[in-house]
């Protein structure tokens, strides 16, 4: 078994996650091979790693190469291989065949997949490969988002798993969250359920209004639809499909993509990387918003609701509980949407305990991935802000949600101030 990480090989180092995770190893003065289909690609990854570190000095720990010329040498020396090639089963399996040919025995193989089934990925490889294969799911950008979900298969050696977990924490300074071997793990499962509920409501309320209602003041860095524009709707579709195919729970049907998003993808409106997505910037510098009814863009309506403006003002002054009281005490259709969204988040998160994370961790694992992976207020914090377990159980009851046992019987949640305020943005 590998007991020290001296050399690392990154496969798919031209991509964002591959290059930036490789860069994190180099920042710890560990030698890293940046491998890509072309040398040019690997060098592009090196540039990204330098920008992340804000130092050219790390380049002396990084050696760039392509698969055809450098794979053999790199894999014979690497103690850990970070595989971050395209999110496609066949492409990943092909590269694993090449890995098998050259790697030294017991090299650890960590995949950064967020949605492909681990067992299917390792299928057909040697016992030694399977023993050393696990998921190391980093969040983007890894320099700022410290979460890393780790999961093994039934064949992963527990010693290897423990060593990888410790190395991610101690060397890469990750906040490591042990998750179950289920596509989407904990973070994407929960976040994309929320995204899906919001994209559904877009058909009735519009893009601008939904991002206004579920804006950063509700405990997130960016509004949800703006986030999806950054993620890319093609990626969103792939994750939703994987979650629909590979998971099963009370919200399963929500993982179906609305027709209008399929249309957006057909129209090439994938988000920030294309000419538009939910948002589109026009010549004046202003945004117009996608209208799912007409499949065209509509000008801004600049929504303004008194309870939201009041909540934002309270957050600006650091009065977070008072802001949530305002939301709770407002009687309006819009306030109901906001509360429904918060309730969905809480109920779905607590219901996933034991499903996406081991029950023994309680809500802690899910809290950690939502805060360190997405910079969203963790579900426990939302419970605390809405008045604590008892009040939230009442609220969920009144709204007809199924009440998670883990919320009824779980410990009373009181979030320390240190981990609270930063999630609520006064916008």
């Amino acid at each position: 078994m590998i007991n020290a990480i001296r050399k690392v090989a990154v496969l798919g180092s031209s991509g964002t996650i591959g290059s930036l995770v490789g860069g994190l190893f180099a920042q710890q003065e560990i030698e890293v091979f940046f491998l890509s289909r072309s040398l040019q690609g690997a060098k592009a990854g090196l540039k990204k790693a330098i920008i992340q570190a804000r130092s050219e000095v790390i380049s002396r720990y990084i050696e760039c190469g392509d698969y055809d010329h450098s794979l053999q040498t790199a894999l014979q020396e690497a103690d850990i291989i970070i595989e971050s090639v395209s999110e496609n089963l066949e492409i990943k399996k092909n590269i694993y065949n090449r890995v098998e040919r050259y790697r030294k025995p017991d090299t650890i193989i960590g995949t950064t997949t967020s949605s492909l089934p681990l067992t299917a990925l390792a299928e057909g490889q040697s016992e030694n490969f399977k023993k050393n294969f696990l998921s190391t799911h980093f969040y983007n950008p890894p320099g700022k988002m410290l979460a890393c979900e780790i999961a093994g298969t039934e064949n992963t050696d527990m010693e290897v798993y423990r060593f990888a977990k410790k190395s991610l924490k101690d060397i890469l300074r990750r906040v490591v969250i042990p998750v179950k071997n289920i596509p989407g793990f904990a973070g994407n499962r929960i976040a994309f359920l929320l995204f899906s509920k919001i994209t559904e409501l877009v058909q009735e309320y519009g893009v601008e209004m939904m991002d206004y209602l579920i804006g950063p003041y509700t405990g997130r860095l960016m509004p949800p639809l703006a986030t999806l524009d950054l993620v890319g709707l093609d990626i969103h579709k792939a994750i939703m499909e994987s979650l629909y195919e590979n998971t099963c729970d009370e919200m399963h049907d929500c993982f179906k993509l609305p027709d209008y998003i399929e249309k957006m993808i057909d129209m090439g409106l994938l988000g920030s990387k294309t000419k538009g997505g939910f948002y589109k910037k026009v010549e004046s510098g202003k945004h117009v918003f996608f209208d799912p009814t007409t499949c065209d863009y509509v000008p801004a309506i600049e929504p303004h609701l008194a309870f939201i403006e009041k909540a934002k003002n309270l957050i600006r002054l650091g009065m977070y509980r008072e802001a949530f009281e305002t939301i709770k005490n407002t009687q309006s259709k819009e306030a109901e949407i906001v509360l429904d969204s918060l309730c969905t988040y809480v109920a779905y998160s607590f219901s996933r305990i034991g499903d996406v994370t081991e029950a023994k961790y309680g809500i802690n694992g899910i809290d950690t991935v939502m805060s360190s992976g997405f910079h969203w207020a963790p579900p426990s914090l939302i419970v605390d802000m809405l008045g604590g377990n008892k009040d939230v159980v009442k609220l969920l009851n009144a709204k007809g949600f199924e009440i998670p046992e883990t919320l009824i019987n779980g410990p009373t949640i009181k979030y320390p101030i240190h981990n609270s305020g930063k999630f609520f943005i006064a916008r």
Binding site: Q27, E29, I50, Q52, A53, R54, S55, E56, V57, I58, G143, K144, L146, R173, K312, I315, R316, L317, G318, M319, P416, I417, H418, G421, K422, F424, I425, A426, R427
Partner: protein, 410 residues
């Protein structure tokens, strides 16, 4: 002097990595969090607080907001009518607020006071921020029309060391590297997840350019949003407090002594005056030795660690010999021998200091006192200096114009 011992009951520091401007928060939100966090970290009851002392450099410039004391009154309905005070002494604002708070307790006017240091700096770009910081020098003479005037002045401090004793800049790079290394152990430090090694700090590159004089980016402390709240109490109040909360009086840290001096504001004038003297900044040295004397500290080797004002690597280089770790001009020896490292004989800035931890100007003096409290109570976590009993802090305002040194211990 009238009065008795001054105790520190603990406090709270906001996460210096946060950008409160990006969160669209008002400066009072930072003060509020620091206050609320201090209640979580101590057993202080709001009804017992007799007055609030706020240290802040330039909220009027950075945030278009003055009268910060008034915001404290909003934090609890019982605070309406409470006396509040606000103090400005550039980067030493909260040390000056602390001195005043101490004086009120010594005069038997208040028995429990709240001290808040606060600065929100990310509201403006670095050029504008540099201009604001220039007001901590003689603006018309030393700053007006000069980009980043402040770091240039501290570059001149390095030049003066070079002139009198010789200065190898690789020792400045080592100071930066040590501060960043320590900051990685501090969960509140601004740079805790940033990349740094000696080679980077010692190399001029596109990410480590010279920004003025001999000062590179890595020689500078950070632009930081942050607030710190802590409590000072009289001996009588503390005796009641420990009894109510099942604590022991001998476990509560005290301010054992302090030194406070003001030099002339112009840097060149300070340097001219100190020609032929042992120390380049004699009034900084005096603040330190006054504090030693009051606290009964024989010399620096009676201390377990120091939290000093490393607004630039040159100011920490200066602090090393001014605290007496080496003879004047020989600070490099303490760096070379590892004396100032976390595991060294006399660690400097276990927290990461201003370079690694961050430097919200008006909060720094209070942050140093809180870190001293943490060290003495064994609650500094991963940056704990084993068995620390006595800790010195040095907070500088302007170009070592205002100098405040505290000794905290049991």
């Amino acid at each position: 002097m009238k009065g008795d011992k001054i105790y520190i009951l603990g406090g709270y520091q906001t996460d210096f990595a946060r950008n409160w401007h990006k969160e669209n928060k008002h400066i009072s939100a930072m003060m509020r969090e620091a206050y609320q966090g201090s209640l979580e970290s101590t057993a202080v009851q709001p009804g017992d607080i007799k007055a609030a002392f706020i240290g802040n450099f330039a909220a009027e410039l950075y945030c278009m907001q003055g009268l910060l004391g008034a915001f404290f009154v909003d934090f609890d309905p019982r605070f309406k009518g409470l006396p509040t005070h606000r103090f400005e002494a550039a980067c030493a604002s909260s040390a000056i607020a602390a001195l005043s708070a101490i004086a009120y307790i010594k005069a038997d006017i208040y028995d429990l006071v709240c001290l808040i240091g606060v600065e929100q700096m990310k509201t403006v770009n670095s050029t504008k921020g540099g201009e604001f910081l220039g007001t901590a020098a003689f603006y018309e003479k030393e700053s007006e029309g000069i980009e980043f005037s402040f770091l240039r002045l501290f570059g001149k401090l390095g030049d003066e060391y070079n002139k009198r004793y010789g200065l190898d800049d690789s020792y400045l790079a080592r100071i930066a590297e040590i501060n960043y290394r320590n900051a990685r152990k501090n969960p509140n430090a601004q740079t805790r997840n940033w990349f740094m090694n000696f080679e980077h700090a010692n190399t001029i590159g596109s990410y480590n350019t010279i920004v003025g004089g001999r000062i590179k980016i890595t020689d500078c402390s950070q632009v930081t949003d942050g607030a710190v709240c802590l409590y000072f109490a009289s001996e009588k109040f503390t005796a009641d407090y420990v009894e109510k909360n099942g604590l022991k009086l001998e476990d509560i840290p005290q301010i054992l002594g302090w030194g406070h001096t003001t030099a002339q504001i112009e840097f060149a004038s300070k340097i001219t005056d100190s020609q032929g003297q042992n120390y380049i900044l004699p009034f900084t040295r005096k603040a330190i030795t006054d504090a030693y004397k009051m606290a009964g500290v024989k010399d620096c080797w009676d201390l377990d660690c120091i939290e000093t004002h490393d607004c630039f690597t040159t100011s920490e280089y200066m602090a090393i010999d001014h605290f007496g770790l080496t003879k004047p001009g020989e600070s490099w020896k303490a760096i070379q021998q590892g004396v100032i490292e976390l595991e060294g004989k006399l660690p400097i800035n276990p927290s990461g200091g201003l370079i690694g931890g961050g430097h919200p100007v008006g909060a720094t003096g209070a942050r140093q006192l809180l870190d001293a409290y943490k060290q003495v109570t064994g609650t500094a976590g991963d940056y704990q200096v084993p068995d620390a009993k006595k800790v010195a802090t040095l907070n500088l305002g302007g170009t070592a114009t205002t100098n405040v040194c505290f000794i905290v211990g049991k």
